[in-house]
């Protein structure tokens, strides 16, 4: 079986396609709900197994590439479809397969109140989502990558708007779709420009061109910037991050999927895949790094003032994506990718944990929670594991990857972004432990939300939580003791400083929200203007809205005026001419036979005269 020809990776991809097609085509099965879910989960499990096996095959660096002709054009093939399985893509594939599988299992219980048809619909979308993301991950060329990229956007639109009867959800879905679409236009332009420059969509061929120096560097900056635009849209980089917090309107497992493994990671992954291309354009990399660091800080500040547990997590994702982007900008994409993988594990864990809390409390708001550790201990433990991972505490998942990013940024010589990221590390620990202390410790709320009955989740929800917590711990412990080799050396003071920063953040949260030595209100007042700005989301949404109102609506008004008065005006004039001339002409029709005879006679006379003089 260990042929290493990529058939396992292909199987992982096609199993999800099978699940999706089965559910999409066999409508009666889909409407049954539960059986549809079992079909989808069976495919997901199979896919997970194949993906992990494929990862085992390719871990050592073996690369297998299988492509089929798709668009033949005049002797050469314009586009191919297929898979490119190497160590990066298969490990990503495993992450996607794992999270997709766990989320599907989790949803069995989380969405058990849904009516059967929409339950089936949910699983159909889930399969499509996983398939699209896997297709993107395995894409051997940019054309296939773009198609899957758009499919990912489509399926996230469908899933964010899963409760489409809720106006906010529908709005959030449209917002996510449009904002990412704005970036996608950049990506498409970039891909086409790159094709013009290199003559191929294929990543492997292009890499050969780049490495042999055959690709002209002139104008490449624009291309890589366009590619980055697409990545920034999907990976929620400033100022296109505004869709991600709103995407929380979808069901919580969907948020876990979007934030951990699919959708937002696509942008980072794209940059990883085209790392060698970006290396040629250091100016664009610098932009990537600065925007990444800025996004990380902005989102971390925003996360500190949120009362909705999912929104805190959403902003933390934006912040962590900024981290990854900064590392890529520093020139060490592998560090960013490493964080992407560990982040995928614990962010899925955090979201699913938050889902368990929301399921129990029937509310997203932190004031409705409190003292949950006693009543749902299991959830509290796994959530704490996720939080410690995110904060970057040794022995937990995110520890080493975070250090690596900081080290990479330092090694890349980007002092400014490095300092921003250190500040973000502090804020991350603070806001995450703010959630932990507010939700799981302290006193239960005096007025719990209607219908709240906190309890640990049922097995179908608990199992994914424990698996993810175990994996986060395992990864953390493994990498704490066996340092992976890196392309750079981080200074010795880095790790203690980073851990110290995180601990300081935890301490501040503890003092503020648990011991209440520091008054939370006074702390907030100390940062009054920033807090005020953060509550208003730094007015970025308003700016977008203003642009929309001023530019788009203004333009629409001009076009509308032109249509109403110029286009319609011409038509009205022509039609009124037709009417009046018709009105005048109809008087010729007297209805009297003699007039017609007279006309015939005169006509005949004219013809005769004409024949006499003209033809003679």
């Amino acid at each position: 079986m260990m042929t290493g020809d990529g058939s396992l990776a292909l199987a992982a991809l096609l199993l999800h396609a099978l699940g999706f097609l089965t559910l999409a085509i066999v409508a009666p099965l889909r409407r049954l709900g539960r059986p549809a879910a079992y079909v989808s989960i069976a495919c997901a499990v199979g896919s997970l197994v194949s993906a992990v096996l494929a990862w085992q095959q390719h871990m050592g660096g073996a690369v297998s590439r299988r492509v089929w002709e798709w668009l033949p054009a005049q002797g050469q093939t314009l586009a191919t479809v297929g898979i490119l399985a190497d160590s990066d893509s298969t490990v990503m594939l495993s992450l996607v397969a794992l999270v997709a599988c766990l989320v599907q299992v989790y949803s069995l219980s989380y969405l058990s109140d849904e009516p059967a048809p929409s339950f089936g619909r949910y699983y159909t979308y889930q399969s499509l989502f996983a398939f699209s993301m896997m297709g993107l991950v395995l894409a051997p060329n940019l054309a296939q990558l773009f198609i899957c990229w758009e499919l990912v956007g489509l399926s996230s639109y469908l899933l964010i708007g899963f409760w489409y009867r809720k106006p906010e959800a529908a709005r959030a879905a449209v917002k996510a779709f449009w904002i990412t679409k704005a970036g996608d236009v950049g990506l498409l332009i970039g891909i086409v420009l790159l094709w013009r420059q290199s003559g191929t969509f294929d990543l492997t061929e292009m890499r050969v061109l780049v490495e042999s120096g055959a690709l002209p560097v002139a104008g490449l900056s624009i291309i890589t910037f366009c590619l980055y635009l697409g990545a920034a849209g999907k990976s929620a980089q400033f100022p296109m991050h505004i869709w991600l917090p709103d995407a929380m309107e979808g069901p919580t497992p969907v948020s876990a999927l979007i934030h951990a493994a699919t959708m937002v990671t696509a942008g980072v992954y794209l940059l990883l895949r085209t790392e060698w291309l970006f290396a040629l354009t250091p100016d664009v990399l610098l932009i990537v790094a600065w925007i990444g660091a800025f996004t990380a800080l902005l989102a971390a500040v925003l996360a500190c003032v949120q009362d909705d547990i999912k929104r805190v997590l959403a902003y933390s994702t934006v912040s962590q994506l900024g981290y990854m982007m900064t590392a890529i900008g520093a020139g060490f994409a592998s560090a960013g990718f490493f964080h992407l993988l560990t982040h995928g594990l614990f962010k899925a864990l955090l979201f699913l944990g938050a889902g368990a809390v929301i399921h129990a409390v029937h509310s997203n708001d932190l004031p409705h929670m409190g003292g949950l550790a006693k009543r749902m201990p299991q959830t509290a433990i796994v959530f704490l594991v996720g939080t410690l991972s995110l904060a970057g505490i040794p022995l937990f998942g995110g520890f080493l990857s975070k250090e690596e990013i900081l080290g990479a940024v330092w090694a890349g010589g980007l002092v400014g972004p490095f300092l921003l990221l250190m500040l973000v590390a502090f804020l991350t620990a603070f806001y995450m432990f703010r959630v932990v202390f507010l939700a799981f410790f302290g006193t239960p709320p005096a007025h719990p939300h209607h219908g709240a009955h906190p309890h640990d989740p049922p097995a179908a929800m608990a199992l994914p939580l424990w698996i993810l917590a175990g994996l986060s711990m395992a990864v953390g412990i493994y990498f704490t003791f066996t340092h992976p080799e890196t392309e750079f050396t981080s200074p010795g003071w880095l790790m203690p400083t980073a851990v110290g920063t995180a601990v300081a953040g935890i301490l501040l949260a503890w003092l503020t929200y648990e011991r209440q030595v520091i008054n939370a209100g006074r702390l907030a007042a100390a940062f009054g203007p920033i807090r005020y700005a953060a509550i208003n989301r730094f007015w970025i949404d308003d700016i977008f809205e203003g642009i929309y109102n001023a530019v788009l609506l203004g333009f629409s008004r001009v076009v509308g005026w032109l249509d109403r008065y110029i286009v319609d005006g011409v038509l009205n004039v022509v039609s009124s001419w037709t009417l009046t001339s018709g009105d005048d002409l109809r008087t010729l029709q007297t209805g009297r036979v003699q007039d017609y005879v007279y006309g015939v006679a005169v006509g005949l006379l004219i013809l005769l005269l004409w024949a006499r003089w003209a033809l003679a």
């Binding site: 029709q589 007297t590 209805g591 036979v593 003699q594 005879v597 006679a601």
Partner: protein
């Protein structure tokens, strides 16, 4: 008398007929005008036949006269029916096709 004279006569008769058709207010007058026009054609046919020494034109004329009779009968029948329905045979009043 040469062919010219016959043709001139026919032309005059035709013109009188046409004038009648166009100007008469009475439908029966119009029918009379049509008869005149048809007979002017008959004159032409006979004249040409006589001068070219071919009897075909004469035979044709016999046919034409028969058909004219039939046409007159039909026309008068239509006028009578028209009178029954509209209580008038004045051409000016029969303008149902007026636009």
């Amino acid at each position: 008398m040469g062919l010219q004279a016959y043709l001139t006569l026919a032309a005059i008769v035709f013109s009188i007929g046409l004038f009648g058709v166009v100007t008469r207010r009475n439908t029966i007058g119009i029918l009379l005008g049509i008869e005149l026009m048809l007979n002017s054609v008959n004159i032409n046919l006979v004249a040409f036949s006589r001068f070219s020494g071919d009897v075909t034109g004469m035979i044709f004329t016999v046919f034409t006269i028969c058909i004219t009779v039939v046409e007159a009968a039909l026309g008068l029948a239509i006028v009578i029916l028209l009178f029954r329905v509209r209580r008038t045979v004045t051409a000016d009043h029969l303008d149902l096709l007026k636009g």
